[in-house]
Subunit: 292 residues, 2 copies
Amino acid sequence: MVLTPQNTTIGFIGTGVMGASMAGHLLAAGYPLRVHTRTKSKAEKLLAAGAAWEDSVAAVAKAANVIITMVGFPNDVEQVYLGRDGIVANAAPGAYLIDMTTSKPSLARQIHEAAKARGLHALDAPVSGGDIGARNATLSIMVGGGAQAFEAVKPILEKMGKNIVLQGGAGAGQHTKMCNQVAIAGMMMGVCEAMAYAKKSGLDPQTVLKSISGGAAGSWALTNLAPRIIAGDFAPGFFVKHFIKDMGIAIEESRQMGLKPAGLELAKSLYDRLASQGGSDLGTHALYKLYD
Amino acid sequence: MVLTPQNTTIGFIGTGVMGASMAGHLLAAGYPLRVHTRTKSKAEKLLAAGAAWEDSVAAVAKAANVIITMVGFPNDVEQVYLGRDGIVANAAPGAYLIDMTTSKPSLARQIHEAAKARGLHALDAPVSGGDIGARNATLSIMVGGGAQAFEAVKPILEKMGKNIVLQGGAGAGQHTKMCNQVAIAGMMMGVCEAMAYAKKSGLDPQTVLKSISGGAAGSWALTNLAPRIIAGDFAPGFFVKHFIKDMGIAIEESRQMGLKPAGLELAKSLYDRLASQGGSDLGTHALYKLYD
């Protein structure tokens, strides 16, 4: 079945900064939208634009044949999907469930199995690209689950992102997102320590970037975050507290696989320290503050 | 004075993989070239192309008004510049001395002062871009020293590189190169740990790169080195042993500045372990082997 705005009702659970933008694109594309989120005020813009409010997760699950979730932590994911009033217990057979939260690969597999037992198609589909990617529908979407389910919902995912890749079976999307976060963890230490070195050694950090941004030290973070560090602007693109959550998942999964990612563990401990000093709600580049 | 092939003789000391390519560009641009290097066979191509051999550092220094060095370690730099038979003692007043070795900022300042006392203009001008950058004359050149000396030798540097930036006074070129290496140190842990995670979790690492290379995890290393890791090709672009040298300098300088770069220190310890397991002559991306 091809999912079109004519035969599809999308349920969207979790309309925070990311979710609200993503759901907005679906609404703009003509899909009927039923929404629920913990704090109703965060859905107001969507409701004004034509989305319908549902009072519970179960009500969304019953009203829609494609259910998308973008919530906070693995505990939220577990409750929203596997709780007694959750999606798996309430969705109609044949429905597609897409969790776009960054969450545990093992939980994604568990949800996939529970969904399958009820004739539901579950995909894990975390994203990267942040609030800007969500707003501009340029997210990278990393998908785990069945190939047929992936093909069925792909036109919907394409309303929210640009680089949409099926990475493997259930959990593979989450694992891929972990690879992304592991690479970033090392990179952030490198960028923040390099900027701290530049300042302490009396160089002009802006001029240093001219020499190093285009070469082997070049990275998205050096291009996009180092200028913010230099400007003293530590507002979040991506929150420290969310990055800590992601690194925690990656470390837990690594241990289960017998992998010891020393750089990741160090980065996590540094970010924990930053959070304990009040930095939870700053952007990840605020790691610089530990060195300054 | 504008330095042209008509009024300039360039002395080049150290014609290893990098130096030979760099000196070749100067020769091709028409500059008379006098060369000396520890192992004469490494200069043979240059000699065949028209460079003249000198039997000692002192002889090069006496014969040239621009002297460029590209040697191995800070000890070599110190000996070549400040030894009794070195450049500073033997160059004619007014000569330009350009050390392009990655070396200690403090040593660069020391050479600058000793040179100044003899009426010589010393610049530190380390590069990034590796053997390919040297071959294609696309090196990034980070310069420390006087503005007038920089302007004088710039046309010569332009024969070897593309992104040539005066970063400040003596030592500033070396400090900038350290910033470059510090950023790379964190990034390499991130890239290698992400690739190890991808493999251990059963993902297809090539497909993972499709999802993560273009976003916030993106970096020169992820684009250029991760594919080599996947292919099991650990041949050096940049040698582990040279990276260890650079990180050692950066850590020493950091301590003197009261900076504690925990990520850099961890990276150095991991690379030391890799070297102790026989990895010195591999490329920096061989760090992956510690996790595999």
